[in-house]
Amino acid sequence: MLKQIEGSLGVAEAVALCRPEVICAYPISPQTHIVEALGEMVKAGALSPCEFINVESEFAAMSVAIGASAAGARAYTATASQGLLYMVEAIFNAAGLGLPIVMTVANRAIGAPINIWNDHSDAMSQRDCGWIQLFAENNQEALDLHIQAFRLGEELSLPVMVCMDGFILTHAYEQVNLPTRGQVDAYLPPYEPRQVLDPKEPVSIGAMVGPDAFAEVRYLAHAKQMQALELIPRHAAEFRQIFARDSGGLVREYRTGDATTIVVALGSVLGTIKDTVDEMRGEGHRIGVLGIVSFRPFPLAEVRRILQPAQRVVVLEKSLAVGIGGILSANVRMALSGVQLHGYTVIAGLGGRPITRKSLHRLFREAERDELQPLTFLDLDWNLVNRVLEREKQQRRSGPIAETILRDVGVVRVA
């Protein structure tokens, strides 16, 4: 059914249709509306049998999800930003143990400086933790990816993060097609665990493994993600048959056919990029877009196949690997090993800075002329940066950067 609702509510409805048995979460913006809505549904008895467990922290949330999943329950949680960081030890455990928990990450920046706005720093910090990571472009896809996540995770016995841009998607009202219970039931079979804590057949989940077999267990985690590379397109095709729309898959191409310049990105910014590309196409520019849906596993072969015929690649990402530059772009480079292409890394939208068509037009034109720096920070205010650098040169006690830069901006006034 077509509805005009908030992204968070759409996700909550989708999760509810997946018949979760345990939901545990600790509130943090911009994820809160999702678990609030699910909490209300559980309280009203709409999800029975499902238990909503209030926890005292994100670390507890993930720990409860691990326990629930190990006991054979379909478990769900959601978090963002510092909350994700606070659960990190348990996140690695969930993946290492092979427990198919599904978690929404409502992407938000990480402090310091404290910042509640959107970027991808949180999800990117966990890129090597062993979870599958899927990125949604809009609210319809965010909703659909959750349904696919339960199916994929349970089939492989691996946890799945569904990443959706905090605020930009979670707080946006747009139309979504809510699936029916029948559709979701047809797509998602009941959870059949590979391992389960059962007093009648005791096993230990989480045995210590020494040097004699640790590498093999780790390799098997990698092998499972490689299996996901085959399952994800298959699941997307089955999804299309039942739900009659394209959602998920490894990557999504847009006007790449004869493109000499291809822009690669993740998440909701793809919409703004596509609008910009349409305008440039109208003026005769040969430019296209490659959206990455599955960041983990990373579809090296697909990315290589699509980018290889182009002359240049612009990777635009909402995260920064301090000390080297891009994270997504490093992965794209790996896909292009041995291929001679102009490659540009663009860091954009950090801490919620809007990514506008105006800036993208300028950026893509500079890329086409190959005038872009290999590492570019979109719309960076160099005056602000240079003032701080100058001050640090001149005085030893230059003060905390966050506060002094706010004084320069004029947000904080000198007393």
Binding site: Y173, E174, Q175, G271, T272
Partner: protein, 198 residues
């Protein structure tokens, strides 16, 4: 694509206003996208929300920098925040929650080159106090918006209000929106007569 920017203060239902606007457009078969300007919204602090309406899927995620229409929920913002930034010149719509005129608000000269029938004021807070019993002007302003732009019917605005609020609160807000609709329609008629005699 038609783009609306709503300005108000934390606690005035600015974000809810944008959301209801998108629901009303959706109910008329349009594509719509509503989103807040994200920040640490506090009661009384300036708040901005956005709504886009189109006939095709809306992919754009940038804030609205060149609105076709402005809904200003609190006239005390006029001289504090750059509410008019980027507004389409001449053809833009301005709807202000006030019982004063544009001249009395000190922006008569600024709007002198706009089409007069697209400049409207409506005492939305008073209407809300009368019909809802609380000074929340958002729903009433949507009635005014439907009247001045003709983009939405009063019926779909009322349906959107009823989706957002329960029972009596919804009916009070629908009554406020209807009253605002009538006031703005009357203002537009007067502006048209005025334009003819000029």
């Amino acid at each position: 694509m038609f783009q609306i920017r709503l300005h108000g203060r934390g606690g005035q239902g600015v974000v809810t206003g944008a959301e209801m606007l998108s629901v009303a457009a959706f109910l008329q078969g349009r594509h719509a996208q509503a989103f807040p300007s994200f920040g640490s919204e506090r009661t009384g602090a300036p708040v901005v929300a956005f709504c886009r309406i189109d006939d095709k899927e809306i992919r754009l995620r940038e804030p609205i920098m060149e609105p076709d229409a402005l809904i200003i929920q609190d006239p005390t913002l006029l001289h504090q925040v750059e509410v008019f930034s980027g507004l389409k010149q001449r053809d833009g719509y301005i709807l202000i929650n006030t019982s004063r005129s544009f001249e009395e608000l000190g922006i008569g000269e600024f709007v002198s080159n706009f089409r007069p029938e697209r400049l409207c004021t409506v005492p939305a807070t008073e209407l809300a106090l009368k019909h809802v019993g609380r000074p929340l002007p958002n729903a009433a302003l949507l009635g005014g918006f439907a009247a001045v732009t003709g983009l939405l019917s009063l019926d779909s605005v009322a349906a959107a209000i009823r989706e957002k609020f329960p029972g009596k609160v919804a009916e009070g807000n629908v009554a406020a929106a209807t009253a605002a609709y009538d006031i703005v329609k009357q203002e537009m008629k007067e502006a048209a007569v005025h334009a003819q005699t000029d």
